[in-house]
């Protein structure tokens, strides 16, 4: 008799627990930094905005700050499971191998490794990746930079006489780019930026220098200074600090002609006259979709990638130094991207080794480069479709890794 009561009690408890689980969304957030770092701050703001719009309570989100890309991430994920989280998000690329391990052990919890690149081939239905089509916004920021360049050239403010080292032997204007790491995500971004600039000013050449770090304020500043010393007039960036815009502002004030395109956040407070704009992610778009899907018991796709079509990317407020007519041009370009008439990686706009690209096979496998074996086998897809490289369609993380003519990467 006692046994029976105990059993029934257990069953009831279990049912209550199950119902409560379904109703109550609890989100665990694993962040590589904290609010002092732009990239993480953008994610935090996105999550908070999504939570607010869905009317979630504060205690429905558990935060883990400054989680490095190592075993700590796995610990954090399991700890969040222990705290009752049913959706767990990590925001840095290197978190994914630890997230997938946790995902394989807790099948009823959804794990999202932001910016990761093997969810679809991992064979786990509770493991997801998401990335914005930030390259679209980088293209638009390139257009802003191009407008500025065109203005500088046509007004005569920038000429071979005034700043001779800003032009190469063929008369191309030099621009520079501070990149974090030499791999597809950065290559995709700087290529889009460069094509944006070149859509306005055809005769440009770009030099990319790497810092080998996502966030290193001193190194980014030093890299920007080195590029400007070489004559670069525009400094773009794919690194997370304010180092490059600050350095550009300093050198602009010292009499150089140089302007900055930032990343993630509005750089105007750092560089009031040197900053033109920054491409930025609107993470709230993704998080709102993720949270509401979880609330409604719907499944998210293994790969989520959206851009201007869902307002998941944008550029920040145009700086006072922007050329006249920039806002109108930006609106026009954004509209063209939205309606699909403008393709960022249109093969008519670039060449590789002097030739138009007609085929770009992309192996989507997740590689272990130390042993040169595939951890997760993916298929090899043809990325050139209808005369354009199809970025972020076969998977959310960027895979554009062509080195196009006109861009020089510095050897590391």
């Amino acid at each position: 008799m006692k046994k029976l009561i105990a059993l029934m009690l257990a069953a009831v408890l279990c049912m209550v627990a199950c119902v409560a689980m379904a109703a109550e969304l609890k989100v665990g957030v694993i962040l590589v930094g904290d609010e002092t770092e732009g990239y993480t701050l953008a994610h935090m703001n996105g999550i908070k905005a999504a939570a607010q719009s869905l009317g979630m309570a504060d205690n429905q989100i558990v935060w883990k700050y400054k989680v490095p890309e190592d075993q700590t991430c796995y610990d954090a994920a399991l700890d969040l499971v222990g705290q009752g989280c049913n959706v767990i998000v990590s925001n840095s690329y290197g978190h994914q191998t630890y997230m997938v391990e946790a995902a394989s052990e807790y099948e009823d919890v959804t794990f999202v490794a932001m910016t990761g690149d093997f969810a679809a081939i991992s064979g786990l239905s509770n493991f997801k990746n998401a990335f914005t089509k930030i390259y679209e916004a980088r293209y638009v920021s390139g257009v802003v930079a191009g407008m500025k360049l065109a203005e500088l050239l046509s007004s005569g403010e920038l000429s071979a006489e005034k700043q001779p080292n800003s032009f190469d032997a063929d008369g191309n204007v030099k621009i520079g780019y501070v990149g974090a790491f030499n791999y597809a995500e950065v290559v995709s971004g700087y290529t889009a930026f460069f094509l944006g600039v070149r859509s306005i000013v055809p005769n440009v050449t770009m030099e990319v220098m790497y810092t080998n770090s996502w966030f290193d304020i001193d190194k980014e500043a030093a890299t920007a200074e080195a590029l400007i010393a070489k004559g670069c007039v525009i400094i773009g960036q794919h690194a997370d600090s304010t180092g490059a815009p600050a350095a550009t502002q300093k050198l602009l004030d010292a009499g150089n002609i140089c302007y900055s395109i930032g990343y993630n956040i509005d750089m105007l407070p750092t560089a009031p006259t040197a900053a033109l704009t920054s491409p930025t992610n609107e993470w709230s778009v993704f998080y709102t979709e993720l949270f509401s899907a979880a609330m409604n018991g719907e499944e998210m796709p293994a790969d989520w990638a959206k851009g201007f079509d869902a307002d998941a990317v944008a550029i920040t407020t145009l700086g006072p130094s922007c050329a006249e007519g920039t806002a109108e041009k930006v609106a026009e370009v954004e509209a063209a991207i939205r309606d699909g008439s403008l393709k960022i990686f249109d093969t008519a706009t670039f060449t590789v080794g002097g030739e138009t690209v007609t085929s770009a096979p992309c192996d989507l496998s997740f590689m272990d480069y130390s042993t040169m074996t595939a951890i997760y086998e993916g298929e090899t897809v043809e990325a050139i479709v209808d005369g354009a490289f199809q970025e972020s369609t076969f998977r959310s993380a960027p895979y554009f890794a062509l080195r196009i003519d006109g861009i020089v990467e510095d050897a590391q």
């Binding site: 890309e69 190592d70 075993q71 222990g82 272990d368 130390s370 040169m372």
Partner: protein
């Protein structure tokens, strides 16, 4: 001499080393230290962060004790720290300032990782584990031997030497990681697909072997230092090299031998971290434990059982600080201050155990 004594003003306080102190007094001083720490912390928590101190202490406690999983993680992290402390004990007892544990651990870890990368899946697993172990012991021992040999041969300053060896090790690791990561932005786990070289799970944890090893070594090192001839030689060399020489001890040999043992145990720690805890390598593999362990070894006066207690305290505080930061959405600088203040008081209490403070007037008669 007599004249200068008159002219020198006696300071208000004088610090005098205690000859000995009873166990009760020791316990009382420590308990008072902890209480003072909690009170001072409470003031900080209340006035700076505006939180309820008792709630914060509860959360801090939960950082280690709320679930069995958290407790096991604390044990795992304790194992790494304690192992390095154990490895450092013989060197420090010899008064050889080995501040190179970080590098010795990294070299052991790197050797382990290299064996995993190049032989994983190509040789039977048992052989792979042995190769990893041997490589790590050798690499760590080498990193200990080099400064030991220079010290024995040329009387070089071992503090600077071992410190510099850390940076060499860090750069070598950074270089290898850079090669192995290939076109990815990070290395990720080694042999993720084959899991070759990963320790087997015992009771659900890969790091169980680490706990077993550290438990054995706590006893073994205690016995080595206390009861073996080597241990005695180390103690004599530590007290005075000249005495040791007079007693017929080959000082150079003892220094080199001890540094090889110290380095090899650090290397072993690297092996256990890579195989049992991380399954990968980075410049952060030792994570500063190589330096923290110096505190552990010194505070415990090379008694491995005290070391275990002190390691636990340090791990408890760091887990507690992290949990406070997460639970209260607090900047982790604030939570580190909370944990740091407790540590400060406890370390401070050691001063009062070792020294006595004389007030100017109260000690008049004695002199």
């Amino acid at each position: 001499m007599g004249e200068s004594k008159k002219t020198v003003r006696e300071p208000l306080f004088r610090i005098v080393k205690r000859d000995g102190i009873s166990m009760t007094a020791k316990v009382i001083i420590r308990v008072v230290a902890v209480l003072l720490a909690l009170i001072a912390d409470a003031l900080f928590i209340y006035f700076v962060t505006g939180l309820n101190p008792l709630d914060v202490y509860k959360v801090m406690f939960q950082g280690t004790f709320s679930t069995s999983m958290r407790f096991m993680w604390a044990m795992r992290d304790l194992a790494s720290l304690l192992l390095i402390g154990i490895a450092l004990a013989p060197a420090f007892k010899m008064r050889f300032w080995n501040v190179g544990a970080e590098g010795q651990v990294l070299m052991g870890a790197l050797a382990t990782a290299a064996v995993m990368v190049y032989y994983g899946g190509k040789v039977p697993n048992a052989l792979l584990y042995i190769a990893m172990l041997v490589a790590s012991l050798f690499a760590g021992a080498l990193w200990g031997f080099i400064p030991g040999w220079f010290r024995a041969r040329f009387s070089t300053n071992e503090t600077l030497f071992t410190l510099m060896m850390n940076y060499v090790a860090i750069q070598i690791v950074a270089c290898c990681v850079n090669i192995w990561r290939g076109q990815a932005s990070g290395l990720g786990k080694l042999n993720m697909k084959t899991k070759a070289g990963w320790f087997p799970q015992i009771m659900g944890h890969r790091f169980m072997i680490n706990l077993i090893v550290v438990l054995v070594l706590v006893f073994a090192m205690y016995a080595y230092l206390r009861y073996s001839k080597h241990g005695y030689e180390i103690a004599v060399v530590g007290e005075s090299e000249n005495t040791a020489r007079y007693a017929g001890i080959n000082v150079g040999k003892v220094i080199i031998r001890t540094m090889i043992i110290s380095g090899a145990l650090c290397g072993l720690t690297g092996f256990l971290i890579v195989g049992g805890r991380d399954q990968t390598i980075s410049t952060n593999t030792a994570g500063g434990d190589g330096f923290t362990a110096i505190i552990v070894a010194w505070l415990a006066k090379f008694n491995t059982f005290y070391m275990a207690l002190i390691s636990f305290l340090l791990i408890f505080l760091s887990k507690g600080a992290a949990e406070i930061a997460s639970a209260y959405n607090l900047n982790d600088f604030a939570s580190d201050i909370i944990a740091g203040m407790i540590l400060f008081f406890i370390l401070g209490s050691e001063f009062f155990i070792n020294y006595r403070i004389h007030r100017k007037h109260s000690s008049k008669e004695v002199r």
